[in-house]
Amino acid sequence: MSILINENTKVLVQGITGRDGLFHTGQMLEYGTKVVGGVTPGKGGQSACGLPVFNKMKEAVEATGADASVIFVPAFYAKDAVMEASYSGVKIIVCITEGIPLLDMIEAIKIIKEKGITLIGPNCPGMISPGKCKIGIMPGRIHAPGNIGVISRSGTLTYEVVYNLTINGLGQSTCVGIGGDPVIGTRFIDLLNLFMNDKDTKGIVIVGEIGGQDEQAAGEYIKSSVRKPVVAFIAGKTAPMDKRMGHAGAIISGKNNTAGAKTEALKAAGVSVVDFPWEIPGVMKELINLKMR
């Protein structure tokens, strides 16, 4: 099994005729994802990668029965793309676009929450249930089907972690890049809950980084509700803190935004936090074996 997406997920690509949209549509099709069409306003009736292009998301969903969309449109139009998708009938939206203004996302996420839709991203590599469905830009071949759930705020660091899992014989149920922006649609705790309830996920890997306090929230949730092994890596221990002005950020998050504070919080929740990304598979194997004994 996997979470959120599987071999039956039908995907629309918003921005399918753009350079990135077109390239990655090809890559997703090659991986075996059921991409059923795309949307580019003004280009309805054309085709891309042999798939129909529509002017509007609603039309596209009605014609194809799609249940997910992936967004490759430029940052300037991304809020409108998310909004349009959220009214179109799809249940899952993956927003790859980076550089979206924060207030645009705050506005869009209000609608997403109201509608009960799952938004992954923005500014993320997307997600993949290996062997079944890839929605995003990650290199498919570094993944393998298996029993590890991966949740990461990063892009290429996720690839590094997944690659190490795969070459050490640990395949993945689903890998989700939740995105590096301050405001994102889906957080660690949402996915921890899904992985906890997925019987084929035997262990969970968290890749966090400095900024915000999401890892602390994840720690609290793991302590109370997650009964599967969790291994984490937190990036940014050596990163200089922002040349910060003002106090509001510190009033909101306290001193929680450092890699050290996140590591401590996760350790206190019983998570194994490793110093090197390549230690993850070994530690995970040990924990899974312990649990099975």
């Binding site: 990135d20 924060l102 892009g155 301050p182 200089p240 009033i251």
Partner: protein, 374 residues
């Protein structure tokens, strides 16, 4: 993006938020002429893009010309957290009866805008937030127009004060939304002895991602306050932050770039910088990355760590070869490449006699070892 207090105060004025009478003083004569016009006491304030100016001695009150002269000489040119003071703001001193804190920022966890208020304004607000969280009040904006007067009840005893502060907060929120701010802060929001309220300080941060729709705000950027290499990197489409160290890093992706620095440190090495070449495959970016890094005097080795996804390894290899041809590079370079077009990249590099690694672990161990042997 951060702006100076004087620039933020100017924006406050445009939104009818009360600010004290003030002027930028380029020299002592201008400061004296301002003080003679408004009368003493006045306050001199260093204009640098960092917090903690007061505690660093960058804010001084002057009661007469002699004190003004002393304060001016002391503050102008002083160093505050690595920033040299080149601009001074001179302000008419307020007769402070009470200091309030007012702020607006975004909250990652709730994905919302949040207003913050406290009756305990002033330099120790962060300590107050830690020690007396019940003195800090937060209002999440949500989908509706917030009721600021109700929100401010625990901060102000008198209704009339509450109404004034509520008006200021609603103007701040308008400023925040219309200009894509990530933080606005008035600390302190001063009640003077005569009962009037004034924003005695002004801080505004803007969302870099939204500057494209605010050309007027972008123009406020003070390049003198930024590291020249970091500005150059930004112009080249690279994300670069300088540290004190010896191993230069060129990496694709911010997370992997941070992890690379962490791993170098964990193995006993000293990373020189954070550098994310981004997702593009433009060989020119690699050349620019080299140009920025090799200028640093502490540099002893360079590690290139690429996990190809959108980034194609052969493009990076071409950039690297071009950098070798264009620049005089006489320090050891360790190259780790894996992912998209890895085989082609390794072929190109081995033709030039450059060894490559597939594993990040081996590459980092190698570069840290090299450094130890130098």
């Amino acid at each position: 993006m951060n702006i100076h207090e004087y620039q933020a105060a100017e924006l406050f004025k445009q939104y009818n938020i009360p600010v004290p009478e003030s002027a930028l003083a380029a020299n002592l004569e201008e400061a004296i002429s301002f003080a003679e016009k408004t009368g003493f006491p006045v306050v001199l304030k260093a204009q640098v893009l960092t917090g903690g100016r007061g505690k660093a001695g960058g804010i001084k009150k002057a009661n007469n010309i002699q004190e003004l002269k002393d304060a001016f000489d002391k503050i102008m040119g002083m160093d505050i957290k690595g920033f040299k003071v080149k601009k001074l703001l001179i302000v008419k001193a307020l007769e402070i009866a009470k200091e309030i804190y007012l702020g607006i920022t975004t909250d990652n966890l709730s994905g919302d805008i949040v207003c913050i208020a406290s009756s305990q304004g002033g330099v120790d607000i962060e300590d107050t937030a830690q020690k007396f969280p019940d003195k800090i009040f937060k209002l999440y904006i949500g989908a509706h127009n917030p009721e600021f007067t109700d929100f401010l009840k625990p901060v102000f005893d008198k209704t009339e004060d509450r109404v004034i502060a509520a008006q200021v907060l609603s103007k701040l929120l308008k400023l925040f939304k219309e200009n894509d701010c990530t933080l606005i802060e008035i600390n302190p929001f001063v009640k003077e002895k005569n009962g009037t309220y004034t924003a005695a300080d002004a801080k505004i941060n803007f969302d870099d991602n939204a500057l494209f729709r605010h050309p007027g705000i972008s123009a406020l950027r003070d390049l003198e306050m930024e590291d020249a290499d970091e500005v150059l990197a930004r112009d080249c489409g690279l994300s670069f932050v300088k540290l004190e160290g010896e191993i230069g890093c060129i990496v694709n992706g911010a997370g992997l770039a941070m992890a690379t620095m962490d791993v170098i440190k964990n193995l006993g090495g000293k990373p020189l910088n954070f550098l994310d070449v981004g997702g593009s495959s433009n060989p020119g970016k690699v050349i620019n990355a080299f140009k920025i890094i090799i200028k640093n005097p502490g540099l002893k080795a360079i590690l290139i760590n690429i996990f190809g996804g959108i980034t194609r390894c052969d493009d990076v290899a071409n950039g690297l070869i071009e950098a070798y041809n264009q620049l005089k590079i006489d320090i050891p370079i360790v190259v780790r490449l894996t992912g998209t077009n890895e085989a082609r990249a390794k072929e190109l590099l081995s033709e030039k006699g450059i060894n490559t690694y597939t594993s990040m672990k081996e590459a980092v161990e190698k570069v840290v070892g090299l450094q130890g042997n130098l």
